[in-house]
Point group: C2
Chain length 328, copies 2
């Protein structure tokens, strides 16, 4: 018997989850829910209905885990606690400062209704958090470093698009190799924001737009660009489509620590992701942890969980015996 999955939303991340479900024999997509007119949404999986989000309640008993594929700004703070009343749920909430509040809301809702709610799943937060946490526990005296990229930052791309005279834009976050090498050497450097990442922008401007003004507005934008060395390249719409339509990403988590009675031995733990498709990898992580949500609920371990709270074996379709035999 398969684990029955529903997906709320049908953007990039939802399609990543849909694709991941097809790669897992024990997972089955039951329905996609949308706030749009369902007739206007065509999904890739044949024979699976697209239904209105207004009808989601009628799927109680037909869905084991509902994946919430909306955004962290406004969708998830409302949706995850709301739907945790009806289903086991999982989201990719990534607004760091609001995680404690989001956790508390989902926990209360999920515990009351006897469901499992997994939050902040993906690769950062998610896999990177897991590696930071485990590596910090194993090497308590040391420093953590996280580098992102080379990859497309949707938030930064959107910020450029909001500038007057910009038609479209793509922003790549690029880790600075010299900084990564200093960390790998065990030097434990203190690195400024500017020393860690570059920002590379590809911008399509309106005809006749003041390019110098656009470039200045990008480079001086607080929070997004002002603290970085930023390059701005104006390109045609055709070139943007041809060379910058993908959503690659990745990054590194490094822990540099010491052991020994005189702290004389250095150790470097490095976890590195190189991803052709950010939403498909994130969707793959979510699909694996949806399996955990189902298993935890079956065991009666209700409430809100993060990647820290879930024993790794729960995300695998293999039995404990198979895991010990083939992967230990």
């Amino acid at each position: 018997m398969s684990i029955r999955i529903g997906i709320l939303g049908y953007g990039n991340l939802a399609r990543g989850v849909e694709s991941a479900i097809r790669q897992n024999d024990d997972l089955e997509l039951v329905a996609v829910f949308t706030r749009r007119d369902p007739k206007t949404v065509t999904i890739k999986t044949e024979g699976v209905p697209v239904d209105s989000v207004d009808n989601v309640e009628s799927y109680v008993g037909k869905i084991d885990v509902l994946v919430l594929a909306g955004g962290s700004a406004t969708d998830l703070p409302e949706q995850t606690p709301k739907y945790a009343k009806l289903f086991n749920v999982i989201d990719s909430f990534d607004t760091h400062a609001r995680i404690p509040e989001h956790f508390a809301n989902v926990d209360a809702s999920a515990k009351e209704s006897k469901h499992v709610g997994i939050i902040s799943m993906g690769w950062d937060p998610g896999m990177f958090s897991l590696l930071r946490m485990i590596s910090t526990s194993v090497l308590p005296e040391g420093e953590n470093y996280t580098f992102w990229g080379r990859g497309v930052s949707q938030g930064h791309s959107d910020a450029i698009r909001r500038i007057d005279g910009v038609v479209d834009a793509r922003q790549y976050t690029v880790p600075i190799e010299a900084a990564v090498e200093r960390v790998r050497s065990g030097e434990n450097p203190e690195l400024t924001t500017r020393e860690k990442h570059l920002r590379e922008c590809y911008v399509v401007a309106e005809e006749g737009a003041d390019l110098a003004r656009i470039e200045k507005e990008i480079k001086e934008m607080p929070n997004y660009f002002a603290d970085y060395d930023t390059t701005v390249n104006f390109i045609s719409e055709e070139e943007l489509k041809k060379n910058h339509s993908g959503l690659p990403h990745g990054g590194f988590v490094l822990r540099s620590g010491v052991t020994g009675f005189d702290k004389e031995h250095k150790h470097i733990i490095e976890y590195k992701l190189t991803l052709d498709s950010n939403p498909e990898f994130t969707g793959s992580v979510i699909a694996a942890y949806a399996r955990a949500a189902y298993k935890l609920a079956n065991e009666g371990s209700f409430g809100c969980k993060t990647v820290f709270d879930i024993a790794p074996s729960y995300i695998s379709p293999l039995s404990g015996e198979e895991l010990r035999k083939h992967l230990l």
Copy 2:
């Protein structure tokens, strides 16, 4: 209140655990147990007794977790099930083929006596197993690759020492960079044993020994060297002490997988360890998971566990709230 740790054995690994305990405020070394005359064993931690292994039973109620720091060949198969009757225990059992049997023995003993027994902990098995398992669950269509080194293999060094005319030896396992790069490129190559690792030997021979014969015996030794490109360097005892007295090690676990409706996107997950001291890093992993043994026992979750069965938060001294705030 601290978690009270005992260590059975006092070789390299035990000293690594002892050193790690000093880096964790919530862990306390209570006693070291030895099969030798305790008077002949001096440990680094002041004020902590060295006692005979024959007296270990008198520490019931005084020790929360007993670390079994013996060897996998003969010590642990007997010791771990035996001492799981008296204490929560943790070992680094690494004889892969015998893990199912060892797990069953420890599980039966620990469940009957209501203890927790964690087996096969360290970095391989241990951290590498965890990464293989999680990465395989996240990217179900793909290949796993494990490379070891550059580092000292104790087993291979010992095998050389058993050859007639050899005074001492150190063997380095060296991953072949070209093979690693092929994996990183997403090529998913099939690699032979010879293509993955080199073996580099530093040998101190007896005066007048037949060096050509020793070199031939090393290079043709089945299982250990015959399937590898092996280099043998004869050096003096002084040079061995000066340049090869450390126990560095490390390696990589890579998962190369695909996602997408047409499997059109490649992803590489890489976990890399660069360790100045193999036993101290292994001891650090064991210390962190000793904390988990204690917490699991307090919750009544008895029996044998591996790295797959333990929620990551159990290995941290931080609360769930602190973990979510600082590391998620």
